[in-house]
C-alpha cells in the first residue's frame, strides 16, 4: 500500500485549566488562535512540534498532530470535520464555544495554563 503523502500539520490540545482548544504557536507556547498555529511542512518538523508540546504537561492535555490545508492569506484550516467542530464549537449553538468567544476581538491567551504569548 503506498504511503500517504505528508500533509501540513499543526499541534492541538486542550488547555489544562479551562479545557478549551489550543494550538501550539511558533514560539512553543499555546494560543487560542488557529491562525497563529505553527505549521509543520515535513514529518521531521511535525515530530519536533509534538515533542515541544508533550514537554509541557502542566499546560495542556493530550496534544496531537492535526492535518491542515493551507490557504494563502487565511492560515491553516483543519482537513477533518472533527477538527473543524473543535475549532468552532457546537454547531447547534453558535452562541457558545470558540465561534462565540472569538467574536470578541478582546479575547486573549493570557489566561491559558501555559501563559500564552498574546
Amino acid at each position: 500500500m503506498p504511503k500517504k503523502p505528508f500533509a501540513p500539520q499543526i499541534v492541538s490540545a486542550n488547555d489544562l485549566l479551562a479545557g478549551d482548544v489550543v494550538y501550539l504557536d511558533r514560539t512553543g507556547t499555546w494560543t487560542r488562535h488557529l491562525v497563529r498555529a505553527a505549521v509543520a511542512m515535513t514529518p521531521e518538523e511535525a515530530e519536533a512540534l509534538l515533542d515541544t508540546a508533550v514537554s509541557q504537561p502542566a499546560a495542556v492535555v493530550g496534544p496531537y498532530l492535526v492535518d491542515v490545508d493551507l490557504t494563502p492569506g487565511e492560515g491553516p484550516t483543519p482537513v477533518h470535520f472533527r477538527e473543524s467542530f473543535r475549532e468552532q464549537g457546537p454547531s447547534n449553538r453558535p452562541d457558545l464555544g470558540r465561534q462565540a468567544d472569538f467574536s470578541d476581538a478582546a479575547v486573549s491567551d493570557a489566561a491559558l495554563s501555559g501563559g500564552g504569548a498574546w
Partner: protein, 560 residues
C-alpha cells in the same frame, strides 16, 4: 424520596476533599495526566472536544425541587446556563473549568448529589422506571431496590475495577420503561405463585458495538436474596470477564461466548456459597424498611377520576387538549396523572434545559407534584403526581417556559446523544440531525397522524442514543472524512426488546431527512389502519417495503 444520612454525607464530603487534592496535584505537576485521568473519571469528570464535562448522577432519575434548583444554580454559576439530561438519567455540564469542579461538587453535596461512579469500569448510576411510584401498572416501586443497590455498589472495594463498566436497571412494572433487557443486569419485579414479589433477573444485555438482548438467568429471585445474587453475578464477571480486549470485556460477551447455561451454573454456585458461608451482605430488614419508608407514596387526596375544570380546558383549548393527549399517563391514584415534560422543543437539542427552565420545573414539582421530579432515559422530565384539576395551570406554566411541546412519544420526541457537537468519542453529529427531523415533522396534526414513533440517534457505535432499539435508528459514522448516517429499522426498547436491522448503505447528512420522509410516507401507505403503529407494520410486512422506500433508485435498478 431517599435522604442522605450522616454516613452518606461524610462519604461524599471526604471524596470531594480527596478529589480537590488530586486536582491541585495535577495542576502543580505532581500528577501526570495519565495518573490523573482515572481519578477524574471516577469522579465523573471527562474531557470532551471543547471543554471538561461533569456528569452528575441522578439516582434512578429521582430528584426534588431543591435539587433541581441547585442544578440550575450550578449551570448558571459555573457553566453556560444549561444542562443536558442523558439517556442514563444523569445530567451533564458541558463547560466546567478544572478549577471550579471542587466548588461544583460541594454545591451538589449540599443537596445530597454527587458525580461518583458516573464513569470508569465500575457499577454505574442505577437506573429505574421514570414512572416509579406513580404508574398504574406497577407491582412495586422499584426505587427501594435501586437505592439498596446504590448503597451496596457505591465505593464497593471489590467492584471498582471491573473488566468494563457495569449498568443495572430496575423496573417494577410489566411494561418495561427502563430498558432492562439492554443492561448488564436487568431486574423486573414479578410475583411468584404465592403472590410474593421478587425479581426476574436478566443478564448480558447491552447496546454499543455488539448489541445483545439480555437473557433471563433467574426466573424468580426472592427479594431478600437480591444482594447475594447480584454479588454472585459480579464476582463471576469480575473473574471470568475478558480484560485483554475492551471491546469484548462487557458481561454480554462473556454470556455469549461461554453460554448462558455455564454462566448460570457459575453464578448459582457462587450464590449458594455466599449464602452458606455467610459471606454476602444480607440486607438488614430494618434498613430495607428504612429505605422503603423514604419512598412511601405521598398522601394522595381521595378524588374522582374526572374533573370539570380539566374537561372544560380540554374542550376550550385545542393546544391543551393536544398536550394532555400526548404528555399525560395514567396514574395509580384516581384524579391524578403523570406529566411528561417534553425537553424536545422543536428545533432545540434533545435533553437540553436552561437554568430558568429547571427552576420552573422545580417550582411546579413543589407546588403540584409532591415535590418530586424524574428524569427519563428518553431525555424528558416527569412530574409524577399531578391532580387533574391542576393540569391546566401546570400546562400553561410549562408553555410559558418553552416546555409545553405536545410531542411525547411522537416523531419529534427524539433521543439524541451529544454527538460530535460535544463528545470526544463521536464519529458524527447527532443533535443537528434530530433538530432537522423535528423541524420537518413539526406540524402537530401530521405528527399525530403518524402516531407512536421512536427515533433515536447515536453519534458513534457506542450507542448512547440507543439507536439499536429505535423504531427508526440513526447511527452517525465517519465515512472517509464525511459524516454518514446508517439507518436501522424495527428496534424496540420495551419488554419485547428487539435490536433493529440495518437497512443498507448510509446517507449523507443532508439526505437523512428526505430518507425519513420516504419511510414515513411508505408507512402511512402500508399501514392497515391508523392504529397500526410503525413498529407493528414493520413486524407484519418485514423490511422489504421500507427498504424500497429508503432506496428507490436501487429498487428501480433491481426491477429493471
Amino acid at each position: 424520596m431517599y435522604r442522605y444520612d450522616e454516613f452518606d454525607a461524610a462519604f461524599v464530603r471526604d471524596r470531594i476533599t480527596r478529589f480537590r487534592g488530586q486536582i491541585d496535584r495535577r495542576i502543580s505537576g505532581a500528577l501526570t495526566e495519565d495518573e490523573f485521568k482515572p481519578l477524574r473519571l471516577h469522579n465523573g469528570l471527562y474531557l470532551q472536544l471543547h471543554a471538561y464535562m461533569l456528569r452528575v448522577a441522578i439516582p434512578y432519575g429521582t430528584l426534588n425541587g431543591r435539587q433541581m434548583r441547585q442544578l440550575a444554580m450550578i449551570a448558571e454559576r459555573w457553566d453556560k446556563g444549561y444542562g443536558h439530561f442523558t439517556t442514563r438519567q444523569n445530567i451533564q455540564y458541558n463547560w466546567p473549568k478544572l478549577t471550579d469542579v471542587g466548588d461544583m461538587l460541594d454545591a451538589l453535596a449540599e443537596v445530597g448529589m454527587h458525580a461518583i461512579q458516573t464513569s470508569g469500569n465500575c457499577i454505574r448510576n442505577v437506573t429505574a422506571d421514570h414512572f416509579a411510584g406513580a404508574a398504574a401498572d406497577e407491582i412495586e416501586d422499584p426505587r427501594p431496590t435501586a437505592e439498596l443497590l446504590r448503597q451496596w455498589s457505591t465505593d464497593h472495594p471489590e467492584f471498582l475495577y471491573l473488566p468494563r463498566k457495569f449498568k443495572i436497571a430496575v423496573t417494577g412494572s410489566p411494561n418495561d420503561r427502563a430498558v432492562t433487557k439492554a443492561h448488564d443486569i436487568g431486574l423486573r419485579m414479578v410475583r411468584d405463585a404465592a403472590g410474593e414479589p421478587g425479581y426476574e433477573v436478566i443478564v448480558g444485555g447491552g447496546l454499543g458495538r455488539t448489541p445483545m438482548v439480555g437473557k433471563v438467568i433467574r426466573d424468580f429471585l426472592p427479594k431478600a436474596d437480591l444482594l447475594a445474587y447480584v454479588e454472585a453475578i459480579l464476582r463471576v464477571y469480575n473473574l471470568q470477564g475478558r480484560r485483554d480486549n475492551k471491546y469484548k470485556a462487557r458481561i454480554k460477551i462473556l454470556v455469549h461466548e461461554e453460554s448462558l447455561e455455564r454462566i448460570q451454573g457459575l453464578v448459582e454456585a457462587e450464590f449458594q456459597r455466599l449464602k452458606a458461608e455467610g459471606l454476602s451482605v444480607e440486607p438488614n430488614p430494618a434498613e430495607v424498611a428504612r429505605i422503603a419508608a423514604y419512598f412511601a407514596p405521598p398522601e394522595f387526596d381521595d378524588l374522582d377520576d374526572e374533573d370539570g375544570g380539566y374537561e372544560a380546558a380540554r374542550l376550550s383549548d385545542p393546544g391543551f387538549r393536544s398536550w394532555s393527549d400526548t404528555n399525560l399517563t395514567a396514574h395509580r391514584a384516581p384524579g391524578y396523572r403523570i406529566v411528561t415534560i417534553s425537553i424536545k422543543a422543536i428545533g432545540e437539542a434533545p435533553g437540553d434545559a436552561t437554568a430558568d427552565q429547571m427552576r420552573v420545573m422545580a417550582d411546579l414539582a413543589e407546588r403540584y407534584s409532591h415535590d418530586e421530579l424524574r428524569i427519563s432515559h428518553e431525555q424528558n422530565v416527569v412530574l409524577p403526581h399531578v391532580k387533574l384539576a391542576d393540569l391546566p395551570t401546570v400546562s400553561a406554566a410549562l408553555k410559558e417556559a418553552g416546555l409545553g411541546t405536545a410531542n411525547v412519544g411522537l416523531i419529534s420526541d427524539i433521543i439524541a446523544c451529544p454527538g460530535m457537537d460535544y463528545c470526544a468519542l463521536a464519529t458524527a453529529r447527532s443533535i443537528p440531525i434530530a433538530q432537522d427531523i423535528a423541524k420537518h415533522f413539526a406540524d402537530p396534526a401530521y405528527a399525530e397522524t403518524i402516531g407512536e414513533m421512536k427515533i433515536k440517534i447515536s453519534g458513534c457505535i457506542n450507542a448512547c442514543g440507543h439507536h439499536h432499539v429505535a423504531h427508526i435508528g440513526i447511527l452517525g459514522l465517519d465515512k472517509a472524512g464525511r459524516e454518514n448516517y446508517q439507518i436501522t429499522l424495527g428496534g424496540d426498547h420495551t419488554e419485547t426488546l428487539t435490536i433493529g436491522e440495518r437497512a443498507g448503505r448510509g446517507f449523507d447528512a443532508d439526505e437523512v431527512v428526505p430518507a425519513i420522509d420516504r419511510l414515513i410516507n411508505a408507512y402511512l401507505d402500508l399501514r392497515e389502519d391508523p392504529d397500526e403503529t410503525f413498529l407493528a407494520a414493520y413486524r407484519r410486512l418485514g423490511q422489504t417495503p421500507f427498504k424500497t422506500a429508503l432506496y428507490p433508485a436501487e429498487a428501480h435498478d433491481r426491477a429493471a
